[in-house]
Amino acid sequence: MTTPQNNSPQNGSPMNNVGRPTRLVTGTGAVAETYTGNKALMLEEALLFERGGLDRTGVDLPPVPLVPDRLGGLGRDAAIGLPGFSEPETVRHYTRLSRQNYAIDLGIFPLGSCTMKHNPRLNEKMARLPGFADIHPLQPQSTVQGALELIDVLADWLMKLTGMPAVAMSPKAGAHGELCGMVAIRAALDARGDMRRVVLVPESAHGTNPATAAFCGFVVENIPANARGRVDLDALLARLGPDVAAVMITNPNTCGLFEPDLKTISDAVHAAGGYVYCDGANFNAIVGRVRPGDLGVDAMHINLHKTFSTPHGGGGPGSGPVVLSAALAPFAPIPFVRKTATGRELVEEDIAATAAPDSFGRMVAFHGQMGMFVRALSYMMSHGADGLRQVAEDAVLNANYILASLKDIYTAPFASTGPCMHEALFSDDFLSGVGLTTLDLAKALIDEGFHPMTVYFPLVVHGAMLVEPTETESKANLDQLIGAMRHVATQMLADPDAWRSAPHFAPRRRLDETQAARKPVLSWKGSEAA
């Protein structure tokens, strides 16, 4: 009987499957470790490469017709090394892995700057309608009129909500939208033979802003923040000049504060011959209440996967349409949808020369993130103009409720300057005395069943904690989070040493990121199970 041997101890003392000794905690009578390494519903899962097999498959396919191949002698002979699973094993592998994740469906996910709001399942259902999910981007346009209609209607919503005259739909995410906007600015400058290349970016900006500007050949200069956490107006105005191509500004900014001077800034930048790029990642705070177009913005990307509820999917996909001012509109990328006598058509390579002579070209193959467009429109239609305004109000209300409920314990750098917008910013100064940090606090919140806030961003605040609840959290949830944050902070000040090693109850304890980076193991190098 082979099995028991396979599973039995390698040495005298019993070992479990993952090689750890199975101790019994004496006294309590509690088993601290298990044979399998599982703990009831907290299940360990081996790698596909450890369990799967090259001869295993979870699909059945019709037989291959016998015809002489036409691969020109380029057939792939050597083993590829792709293990497979039967269908039941596949379902289980991924279901077990999924349970090691936290998600918005499980609880509040207050990542500042990320707008982790509820993802309605109606959106998922609509995106899966064959009429949207099962059409090819290069089908004759007569066969996809409904798809072009959807893009056109969504574009109309975006323009009306932002008060801007044009929108480029194809960018694939926020950073890609930034790129689209900055390229439009480059194109506009080139069109008038203007060589200015400096882009001013606040220190507090998200990393994608400077990275994007550099990506399309601009020179990045930082502008400082003032004591109130806003752009230092004087510094900025002072820096404006013939070499300044654009200002990239985030509003509400990454400290969760509204930039009251944006209109003033825009006017000054325009007067100095530059353009204003607005990072719209925080649009959720003002949607329906403020139109960026009224603040003199020339370009702003909108993260449909933030403000408009398309799911983050563990890192994407997103969608980052960019609204454009009249000054930049002519340079917008192809393709775009326009109305015709009989319906709608795509302006693509074939007619671009006449229909969009100044377009700077393509941002991407095909037409953008259709799957996200459907979800976003489904969300917008559900909320409507009235509901979207309420979204902004509730998002801001929730954030201020958290700020007001914690600022007596947590250091709140800018609380004195008045209300915040959709996110509340704290720092770990109040812990400096006990040698605990933002990181320790974040990990303690994991044990409490919450996803931590955004930590150590924005960089302008040391030990920053940026809490964005979004409008889809109930008061009861906020009260529980506030209670837990107060409890943890109080305990940390009272008994610091107990709090250096959290989390204790998660699938893993703190992970060694230094080792991961020092000798990177980025893909499975072992051999397959079978």
Binding site: R76, G84, T90, S382, K475, A516
Partner: protein
């Protein structure tokens, strides 16, 4: 509003806690001229789930779907059967509604999936390392060219005429402003090897060349041995970037890695994603270990936790924008996580055995149809070697033919007049893709319809 948990009573209580008289007080920073008095005009108010569903179902109904028509459209997006299990997995809330795994202790699910995905992509492409995904194939290609420039510190990039024209124009959009020099060829209708001429490509490699970009199978479906090209690149200190738009082909033909590629970028849509009118798709990016620190995008790596258990984290983030800002290898942040998961699930279901079967099936079916259509009067099959896609010379402008086929309910392929309008020499070309989903009845319907259209 069904998505908003706060009741009016909650709002009042919370304003009291905050010490604000009204919600407007919280927006006091907004300059008067920008304050909107009420809901934005010209947009409808909130609607029931029923009403939204009715409206969107109506729109969706105006499109002809791939599954309900004989379908042969490809050129960078392919209709493959996606097992029901894939959609079930990506709809798990724990995957669907999680963010980027910034807190690894409660994101091991996403992280292990990424590690497995990276491993699968590396093996499939024949490379040593792959990242956690890019937006799509076209943006991945542009990133590859920039990466080559960073590595070689040379300005010139040669793009084969066989590369998908959308991909090339995405590259051109950005290189206009970065000082990179792009030399892209124009495709030829060479009988037996439509697309580009690798020998002339080799000839144009010089000391300024940072990389050569070639697609295999190319836009026209032609497949070539890239080894000579790889040797030529390496001899000149340039990198070979290989683009793969039909990833299933790697279950049947030699991997770019085996042919000497330095960077492989691809479109992963064929596995797991479905057509969805062009997006969201999946950018694949793989390279050699030695270049990993110049790579764009996220990477997941193995490590251990405080109690010694294996775990996974995002790593080498000093390459990325949130750390390096203007010096980052790329500006990408959100990528295609969920589509990478779908890809990985589909590939796990297939396994090596299933992938090879699927690829063989695609090829055999394509050969059957290619030879069948190639025998039609007035139709010439241009391809010698191909995988599941081939180009026909119809001897007349192809675009109207494609439209007429659609009127007959057959989605028959892509006309080069649409993809390469500038090249009149190509207007008679139609590119036809065949996958496992096409039945014999579909073949018959296609041939009959084409016959009728050509007869006129």
């Amino acid at each position: 509003m069904r998505y908003l948990p706060l009741s009016t009573a909650d709002r009042t209580a919370m304003l009291a806690t905050i010490g604000a008289a009204s919600i407007d007080d919280l927006f006091s920073d907004v300059p008067a001229e920008a304050v909107l008095p009420g809901p934005i005009a010209g947009l409808p108010n909130h609607a029931s789930e029923m009403a939204v569903e009715r409206a969107l179902v109506k729109m969706a109904g105006k499109n002809a779907t791939a599954s309900t028509s004989p379908f042969f459209v490809g050129c960078g997006a392919y209709k493959h059967h996606v097992p029901a299990t894939v959609d079930m997995v990506i709809q798990r809330g724990e995957f669907l509604t999680a963010y980027t795994p910034y807190q690894p202790e409660i994101a091991q699910g996403t992280l292990q999936v990424l590690f497995e995905f990276q491993s699968q992509v590396a093996r499939l492409t024949g490379m040593e390392v792959a990242n956690a995904s890019m937006y799509d194939g076209s943006t991945a290609m542009t990133e590859a060219v920039f990466m080559a420039r960073r590595i070689t510190r040379k300005p010139k990039c040669l793009v084969s005429a066989g590369v998908h024209p959308h991909y090339t124009s995405v590259l051109k959009t950005l290189t206009r402003f970065t000082g990179d020099v792009v030399e892209a060829g124009v495709p030829k209708f060479t009988q037996g090897a439509p697309g580009d001429d690798l020998s002339s490509l080799i000839a144009s490699i010089d000391g300024d060349t940072s990389c050569v970009v070639v697609q295999n199978p190319n836009l026209f479906g032609h497949i070539a041995d890239l080894s000579p090209l790889a040797d030529a690149c390496h001899a000149a200190g340039a990198l070979l970037i290989v683009v793969v738009t039909e990833i299933v082909s790697l279950g049947a033909i030699k991997s770019p890695g085996e042919m000497g590629a330095d960077i492989v970028v691809g479109e992963g849509q064929s596995l797991g994603a479905g057509l969805t009118f062009g997006g969201p798709y999946l950018g694949l990016f793989a390279c050699r270990d030695k270049h990993v620190r110049q790579m764009p995008g996220r990477l997941c790596g193995e490590t251990v936790d405080a109690s010694g258990k294996r775990g996974f984290v995002l790593t080498l983030s000093t390459r990325e924008q949130h750390i390096r800002r203007e010096k980052a290898t790329s500006n990408i942040c959100t990528n295609s996580g969920l589509i990478a998961l779908a890809f990985s699930v589909h590939l796990t279901l297939l396994g090596e055995k299933g992938l090879r079967h699927l690829a063989a099936l695609n090829h055999a079916r394509a050969v059957q149809l290619a030879e069948r259509l190639g025998r039609m009067p007035g139709v010439t099959l241009l391809n010698g070697a191909f995988f599941n896609e081939f180009t026909l010379d119809l001897g007349r402008e192809a675009r109207p033919v494609v439209r007429k086929l659609a009127e007959k309910g057959v989605l028959g392929g892509v006309s080069l007049g649409r993809l390469w309008p500038s090249e009149k020499a190509l207007t008679n070309g139609m590119i036809v893709a065949v996958t496992e989903t096409a039945t014999d009845e579909d073949f018959d319907a296609f041939e009959d319809a084409l016959d009728e259209v050509m007869a006129k």
